[in-house]
């Protein structure tokens, strides 16, 4: 059971949150997707990273403020290395040392 620090509410138990998916996936504009092959569109639509190490992902505080936010989590140690608001860029995290 993780302890997740919601950027708006503070540290709360994992059961208050819902997991979304990988963070920082930008939806292509219509102008872009009109030009995309099916394979390229599938990259956006289906393909997700599954790293052994630091993973940037988004969570929602379902049973709290209902706000979405981003989390940098180590998938092996489950350390939560950063929590940051939607729209903020992914922080630099030295993934090698982990």
């Amino acid at each position: 059971m993780f302890l997740i620090t919601c950027p708006y509410c503070g540290a709360r138990d994992e059961h208050e949150f819902g997991y979304g998916h990988e963070a920082h996936i930008v939806r292509p504009t219509p102008a872009e997707y009109e030009q995309m092959s099916d394979a390229e569109w599938a990259q956006y639509l289906f393909m997700r990273k599954n790293p052994k190490g630091v993973h940037f992902e988004r969570w929602v505080h379902t049973k709290g403020c209902r706000r979405w936010f981003n989390v940098a989590r180590h998938t092996v140690t489950h350390e939560i290395l950063a929590v940051y608001e939607m729209g903020k860029p992914a922080p630099q995290i030295d993934t090698e040392k982990k």
Partner: protein, 1007 residues
């Protein structure tokens, strides 16, 4: 009558003024308040307490704690009976009823013991090898094997007890209240830190409760414990939890505890309290002071009743006074067992000899034992144990110079207790559960905690990390408490560390993993490694010979380390024996990864109060009471309870539904549609947002008008549908499917917050703010007219797909002219507090029109007659709008909406995908099975090529025949074709039609 033949006259922590009556296998015994079932049985001279799992060997009590592999008990009767409890952990109460397990007809005469006779023929892997061919016969064998397997019996009735759950947080969670844990709690508690101290036993104190001579701060150990507990009890921010096992250590310092709140009071006394409580504790730091577990030595016939761990005998003598008159022989490879020799002698137990596997032990404790006149037989081994149902004596032989064998001169010693000590294994379970590693320590020949994982803030102290001297444990505990508190910002004084004087120094232990006998291992007596699973040293050798040499293979091949004790006394011995066979270091065989739970946890604590009516909230509409009073049969739709149909006296479901369905097309009907999801959407970008989430266009919808919309996932598949109305320029009222309401709400929020945060739009769930009742049928307008003065209802003023605000039956309403039946229909929305009033007014005024309430089944039939889809029934997440034949709802003018690009993927634009079609059976009375598989060509037997399935199927009284909707491969290009539905031994032919069966021109919508 209350005589306890092995009970000492004085001493120990039992209350002799409170005798307790209990039964074991139907026989009445007495013990005292403070006893465990195990100590009470021993006080009564009961040594045979169980039969082993596989060979049904007679077994006695091995330990005095959670590690007990033998003394498994079926406790209690009827609906409260519980199997596989350890007698060493059951607190005695008056009237306790205990039964031994795995024997028939009785413990002393057990037919299953025949297995013991043929044991040569059922070694490890016997079942794997024997029952694997012929493959089909496993179905036959399994029945018998399953019957022979298993230990106790689960209750067959519902659990009558209450359970509770609790969340807590603290600065320091200290697990284990022995010397280390108590010292930690004192040091941290004094600083003002919030401390939770837990211990699985009934009293705090751990090993100190079994001490006879040790002194701390000048006090007897027991007195020091009492003073420490008193000081801790007085601290407002310290919580002491006895009878509480920390059974799981999860991520980020989340630890699960099980508190046995009333188990010790028996089944009745605690009825006003929960039986057990699950704690989920989040701690800033966890101190693992879980102590260590003594390892038995692996010697020939080491499982005879009366063979016990040396430390356990010391506990039974010192803490429970239940070893009187026993005659013991002790075998050891370390100095610690001499404490048992000394204490037992003081407690009046005859210790005939200490057989020391070391050739020349000279430690201080050894000398003290010698000074007390205890015979020390160094460089010898116990090579055999006599007695079947109870120990009667041992054979002792000198070890050869290399210690690997014995020489001939054998000496027999009569005794009824054989105590052994093979050293101590730190209880690293919780450390290991954090997924941190354990490492091998040559000094103590045991696994100790390795580095902790980042993100898990904990510290193992005392016995749990291989520090066994009392003075060191106290010092480590004090340091952990004061440093832990200081790190968390508590600056208060933590006081002085407790001190111990004159603690005897101990010599190193000698690792001996198999005690040699006069016959090779496997040929004479049995050298048990894992008592609970009947795994012997010979079995480990067999596994080695057959190539199962890693710990994972060894475990699965021999079942070593499985079942209720999870190898607490056996894992290290087995690893060490395997290492010896492979001639490698012990850690290279591998280590066990411990997983929760540390000891078994009852399922009741997981459910807590979440059972029966409390399992899930029940949602009822404002008209629920009316439905109940009028005989509605209810069905569950998510958490909602909705009327399914309203049978009149004597009507079957079929009759009632037919009547309701016909009424909707001939008169006027009313249905409670409150459960529809409703979302209020406001903001200058509301129309823009709807354009993105629906496939059709919303910008030009005029205020006062409604529109049906289809929502797609970004993969182009239908996700939800519903009617959304424009209240004003920047204000919309969205409806969703009943089950989809929370999902749609989350969907809108996610896209808004994550993808389009700049858009000014706000979503509010208003499902429970509006009650809804829909009037359907040609007479619905007439009925409404009677109850409103300010809402014009004619087609021109109030056209289809629009809404009006006004009053009905004297209260404010918003009426939508929308229809899920194809009939003239009005959906009345109002405050929930007005809903029952309006419903009653409509029923009263409608009486002359024979107004008919209908339920969800009629609603489904009516919409199916018109071919209206239900998302989740006609769709399953793989269906596009085009598959449904709903190309008309796809806005050509819009450049973007969710799912748009996916609809042009090669796979989604295929012309031969599964399409929604109608199915008409040849026999009009044959109603197809929903979910039934459809084939184009029938074969003699499966497999057949399936081309689709039935999604909805009903009898339609308005069509006078059965109707069905189905998804069929290339269905729209198969119109008129006959397909087949084989099931339950028959084949039903059906013809593919348009998915619409009634009022094909759609004329009825205007009444």
């Amino acid at each position: 009558m209350t005589a306890q033949k092995n009970r000492l006259g004085q001493g120990g922590r039992i209350d002799r003024t409170k005798p307790l009556r209990f039964t074991f296998d139907g026989k009445i015994y007495y013990g005292y308040q403070g006893d465990t079932l195990a100590s009470a049985l021993l006080a009564n001279g009961v040594t045979l307490v169980g039969r082993s799992f596989k060979y049904h060997r007679p077994r006695g009590i091995l330990s005095a704690g959670a590690e007990e592999p033998n003394a498994l008990i079926q406790l209690g009767l009827g609906d409260r009976t519980e199997p596989n409890l350890r007698a060493t952990q059951i607190e005695l109460y008056d009237g306790l009823v205990a039964e031994s397990q795995n024997r028939w007809p009785s413990l002393t005469t057990d037919f299953g013991a025949a297995n013991s006779v043929i044991q040569k023929f059922i070694p490890s892997g016997f079942y794997y090898k024997t029952f694997m061919w012929p493959a089909k016969a496993w179905m036959f064998y399994e029945k018998f094997i399953r019957q022979a397997a298993g230990l106790g019996k689960g209750p067959t009735e519902q659990d009558p007890d209450r359970y509770d759950k609790l969340y807590a947080s603290c600065d320091l969670l200290i697990i284990g209240a022995g010397p280390s844990g108590l010292a930690t709690a004192l040091a941290a508690g004094r600083t003002g830190a919030r401390v939770i101290l837990v211990d699985e036993q009934q009293e705090l104190g751990g090993s100190l409760l079994s001490e006879r001579t040790a002194e701390i701060d000048g006090k007897a150990a027991a007195d020091w414990v009492a003073a420490a507990v008193a000081e801790l009890t007085a601290m407002p921010d310290v919580t002491l939890l006895s009878r509480t096992v920390a059974w799981a250590y999860y991520d980020h310092n989340s630890v699960s505890l099980m508190e046995r709140v009333t188990d010790h009071l028996g089944p009745v006394a605690g009825a006003n309290q929960p039986r057990q409580r699950l704690w989920r504790v989040r701690a800033k730091e966890v101190i693992l002071a879980t102590g260590a577990i003594e390892r038995p030595l692996v010697y020939s016939d080491n499982d005879r009743p009366g063979c016990m761990l040396a430390s356990a005998a010391r506990t039974y003598a010192n803490r429970y006074g239940s070893m009187r008159g026993q005659r013991a022989v002790i075998m050891t490879n370390n100095d610690g067992a001499y404490r048992t020799a000394l204490d037992l002698t003081d407690a009046g137990v005859t210790v005939f000899a200490v057989v020391d596997l070391r050739s020349n032990p000279q430690g201080e404790l050894v000398k003290a034992a010698r000074a007390k006149g205890i015979e020390i037989i160094a460089g010898h081994a116990i090579t055999g144990v006599k007695g079947k149902l109870a120990v009667t004596g041992v054979d002792v032989m000198p070890l050869t110079a290399d210690g690997k064998g014995v020489t001939s001169a054998s000496r027999h010693i009569h005794c009824d207790l054989v105590l052994s000590s093979g050293g101590w294994q730190p209880t690293v379970h919780l450390h290991s559960q954090t997924r941190a590693k354990v490492v091998w320590s040559d000094d103590i020949q045991a696994f100790v905690p390795g580095d902790k994982l980042p993100g898990q803030n904990n510290r193992s102290i005392g016995g749990a990390h291989g520090v066994f001297r009392l003075a060191d444990c106290l010092a480590e505990g004090h340091a952990a408490g004061s440093e832990g508190a200081a790190k968390l910002g508590f600056g208060g004084q933590s006081g002085q560390a407790p001190t111990v004087s004159d603690e005897p120094a101990e010599e190193a232990l000698l690792p001996v993993w198999i005690v040699p006998s006069d016959k090779p291992v496997g040929q004479g007596g049995k050298h048990f490694v894992d008592y609970q699973n009947d795994v012997t040293a010979a079995d480990v050798m067999l596994a080695h010979r057959e190539g199962y040499r890693s710990v994972e293979h060894l475990k699965r091949y021999t079942t070593m380390g499985m079942a209720t004790d999870q190898g607490k006394t056996s894992n290290v011995n087995a690893l060490a024996i395997m290492a010896g066979l492979r001639n490698v270091e012990i850690p290279s065989v591998g280590t066990t990864t411990f997983r929760p739970p540390y000891t078994p946890v009852t399922l009741g604590t997981f459910s807590g109060i979440d059972k029966g009516d409390f399992l899930d909230p029940i949602r009822k509409t404002a008209m629920h009471q009316w439905h109940e009073q009028h005989g509605a049969v209810f069905e569950c739709v998510g958490q909602w309870h909705r009327p399914y149909y309203y049978p009149k006296p004597g009507e079957s479901m079929h009759d009632a539904v037919n009547r309701e369905v016909k009424a909707a097309r001939t008169g006027v009907t009313i249905v409670d549609a409150t459960t529809l999801g409703k979302i209020d959407i406001q903001g200058p970008d509301a129309a823009w947002f709807l354009n993105m989430v629906y496939t059709n266009a919303w910008t030009k919808l005029e205020p006062g008008r409604c529109r049906y919309g289809l929502m797609l996932g970004e993969d182009g598949m239908v996700f939800d549908d519903g009617v959304t109305s424009r209240i004003s320029e920047n204000h919309f009222h969205m409806t969703t499917t009943t089950g989809g309401a929370p999902r749609v709400m989350s969907w809108l929020e996610e896209w808004h917050q994550c993808e389009w945060p700049d858009k000014k739009v706000y979503f509010t769930s208003v499902t429970e703010q509006w009650s809804v009742m829909a009037l359907n049928g040609p007479l619905s307008r007439k009925l409404l007219e009677e109850l409103t003065t300010d809402i014009p209802l004619d087609d021109d003023s109030f056209p289809f797909m629009s809404f009006k605000d006004g009053h009905l039956a004297g209260v404010p309403v918003r009426i939508f002219r929308i229809s899920f039946t194809g009939e003239l229909a009005f959906e009345v929305n109002c405050k929930p507090s007005h809903a029952l009033h309006i419903w009653r007014a409509l029923m009263q005024a409608g009486e002359k029109y024979d107004i008919t309430p209908y339920g969800t089944e009629a609603m489904h039939v009516l919409r199916a007659e018109k071919g209206f889809i239900i998302v989740g029934q006609e769709t399953d997440g793989t269906i596009t709008p085009y598959d449904l034949g709903m190309g008309w709802i796809m806005a050509k003018s819009k450049t973007d909406f969710l799912g748009r690009r996916s609809l042009t993927r090669e796979d989604t634009k295929r012309p031969d995908r599964k399409h929604l079609v109608g199915l008409l059976t040849d026999n009009p009375n044959e109603v197809l099975l929903e979910g039934g598989q459809i084939v184009a060509h029938v074969k003699d037997k499966p497999p057949m090529d399936m081309i689709g399935h039935v999604t909805s199927s009903y009898y339609s009284p308005n069509c006078n025949r059965s109707i069905a909707l189905a998804l069929v491969k290339n269905g729209r290009n198969r119109m008129g074709e006959t397909v087949y539905l084989p099931y339950e031994g028959k084949v039903i032919p059906a013809r593919i039609t348009e998915p619409k069966f009634f009022d094909l021109e759609g004329k009825r919508i205007n009444g």
